[in-house]
């Protein structure tokens, strides 16, 4: 989805190509086996046949599929909502966390975030026990104030974004106690050195401009970000010959850092509006609002 999110990108794609892409995405949607929804959601790729028994849907792919469809102007009518929601339910664990695939995987804040985005976009929370998910996330706030991927782990910029955004989408961010919120705010702001790092005493990295920029926006703290310093750092990681961004100056650019460099810039400057929780443009979000009435 990062390849087609930027406003610029989608204006360049013609209508027939958009329809082709939409068809391809839908071809990756799994159907239930009778009453068994464990396979449901979207699969990642067609490098293995979709018909294979163990080719289960993956929560991050479902999230990305929904975002991509919205960006392309689809109305989501092809989504088998019942299946997606029931598939989500299969992925939540006793402690509230989510794994990414019903066959079993690691479980952490990333997939709670995906679950929250999917539920929000479908306006259907039956696949998510929000109280348990919230408890898992809150228990993953470390002594440092940021959120870790899991209970007891190190606070990290990526998991901090996932947690704050998930809480926001679930309507639980407002319930955060004052002291915890202040510690969180302080930790997030402390990540800025020029651009942002993801953990104390680690080097800054382009993508953290988004993870922390969006986090701080969701906390209502955009005004505390030094926009000029962030922009100056991002400009050093732009490749002057190939284009795109890398995580550090002088390194080879890649799609992830190119997207998050741009998204980081936008979410901090507000020049192009980005939905800070769903991580799609406001244009795509307004389209979602239109098709979700």
């Amino acid at each position: 989805s990062s390849g087609i999110n930027a406003e610029y990108g989608s204006r360049e794609v013609d209508e027939s190509r958009k329809q082709e892409i939409i068809k391809w995405i839908y071809s990756l949607q799994n159907r239930p086996s009778g009453d068994d929804y464990a396979r449901c959601g979207f699969i990642a790729t067609d490098s293995l046949p979709g018909t294979l028994d163990s080719n289960y849907g993956h929560i991050a792919m479902t999230y990305v599929a929904l975002c991509s469809l919205l960006i392309l102007g689809d109305d989501l009518s092809g989504i088998d909502r019942e299946s997606v929601v029931n598939g989500l339910k299969c992925l939540q664990l006793e402690n509230g966390a989510y794994q990414c695939i019903a066959l079993g995987s690691e479980s952490d804040a990333r997939f709670v975030y995906c679950a929250a985005c999917i539920s929000y976009m479908l306006q259907d929370w039956r696949g998510m026990d929000k109280e348990k998910a919230t408890q898992f996330l809150m228990s993953s706030q470390s002594y440092e104030g940021g959120f870790a991927q899991n209970i007891g782990r190190e606070a990290h910029g990526g998991s901090t974004f996932c947690s704050i955004a998930a809480l926001k989408l679930m309507g639980k961010l407002e319930d955060m106690p004052t002291r915890e919120k202040n510690d969180l705010l302080s930790w997030c702001l402390q990540r800025q050195q020029s651009g942002f790092n993801g953990r104390p005493n680690k080097p800054v990295d382009t993508c953290y401009s988004f993870w922390l920029g969006a986090s701080l926006t969701l906390l209502g703290a955009q005004e505390f970000i030094n926009k000029e310093a962030n922009f100056a750092y991002l400009m050093t990681t732009q490749d002057r010959y190939i284009g795109g961004f890398s995580k550090w100056a002088g390194y080879f650019p890649d799609v992830l850092h190119s997207y998050f460099g741009i998204a980081g810039m936008f979410v901090i400057s507000g020049e192009v509006e980005l939905h800070p929780a769903l991580n799609i443009s406001m244009r795509a979000f307004r389209h979602w609002q239109d098709v979700s009435r």
Binding site: P49, H58, G104, G152, R153, W187, N201
Partner: protein
């Protein structure tokens, strides 16, 4: 362990490969599969379709994993083969260790190793493995996650604080090691008043060595806040802060901690002066320090 896939090989002649692509739709961004990739995966698809759980299938997954280490479907199928064959768990540990050495930030291999350990019940190599991984990258999130999981499940706490001491002697700015220390104490002795004092002294020693080290400050202040205690209760730590301040130590972490202490003492004037200094000392966050200053008026 390579499967030696070759259409001419007799060993695979009974298998009809299912050729890529598996979709007649035009993809958005076509992956440039190599011939070898298409070869291996077309046989992988057939094997999985036929539900074959054999030695040669295991060897095939080795190749498939090498070509795409993030293919969780293949990793899962490999586990199903291991459950069928029931042997190989020890060599599987060697295999995962080599993949970890090659790609220490891959999620699937760490999860796979965890599954193997759950199958065998043998976690005896894990502290060594994670230590080795951390020697190459002391902050590898996966290694720390795995180590913490092993410690919680198998309760091998004996050497842990010693190991952290070692890491901090090497690099006192290793935030992961500091986090791990919090985790170990939290999971073992817990936070009695005596323990908190001891840990504040521990942090204080490192603060004195490097007063601008965010990690040591986060540790000290984090303990007090997380345990809902007060700075007032810990005179040694307060004294350290005051003496550093008296020597004009220009550390923003010192200053923000002092501000918190003054706020706790309800000394708004002193706190405000600290925030004023921070606006210049930590100028990238000038707007935040102004905000903190304004907040004092409304308390």
């Amino acid at each position: 362990l390579s499967s030696g896939i070759n259409a001419e090989y007799g060993e695979w002649s009974d298998v009809t490969p299912i050729p890529l692509p598996y979709n007649d739709r035009e993809p958005v961004v076509q992956i440039m599969y190599s011939e070898r990739f298409k070869d291996v995966y077309s046989y992988m698809a057939a094997i999985m379709q036929n539900k074959e759980y054999s030695e040669r299938a295991l060897a095939l997954t080795t190749d498939a994993i090498e070509l795409n280490t993030a293919n969780y479907t293949v990793w899962h199928y490999r586990r199903e083969i291991l459950r069928e064959i029931k042997l190989h768990l020890e060599s599987e540990m060697e295999f995962t260790a080599s993949v970890i050495a090659d790609q220490p930030k891959n999620y699937q291999v760490w999860h796979h190793r965890r599954c193997i350990i759950e199958m065998s019940g043998d976690a005896s190599k894990e502290l060594e493995l994670t230590e080795e991984t951390l020697t190459k990258d002391a902050k590898n999130y996966h290694a720390w996650d795995h180590r913490q999981w092993v410690l919680t499940q198998y309760k091998m706490w004996d050497r842990e604080l010693e190991y952290i001491d070692e890491l901090l002697r090497k690099d006192l700015r290793n935030n992961s090691a500091w986090n791990h220390r919090y985790f170990v104490i939290d999971s073992t002795t817990g936070w009695s008043r005596g323990t908190v004092e001891k840990e504040l002294d521990y942090a204080a020693a490192y603060i004195s060595k490097a007063p601008n080290n965010e990690s040591s400050w986060n540790y000290a202040t984090g303990i007090i806040k997380k345990q809902s205690m007060k700075y007032t209760d810990f005179s040694n730590f307060k004294e350290l802060c005051r003496s550093l301040h008296a020597s004009n130590m220009p550390s923003p972490f010192l200053m923000s901690t002092l501000a918190e202490m003054y706020i706790e003492e309800e000394n708004s004037t002193a706190a405000s002066n600290i925030f004023e200094k921070l606006k210049e000392l930590d100028s990238i966050r000038v707007n935040y320090w102004s905000y903190r200053q304004k907040q004092l008026a409304t308390c």
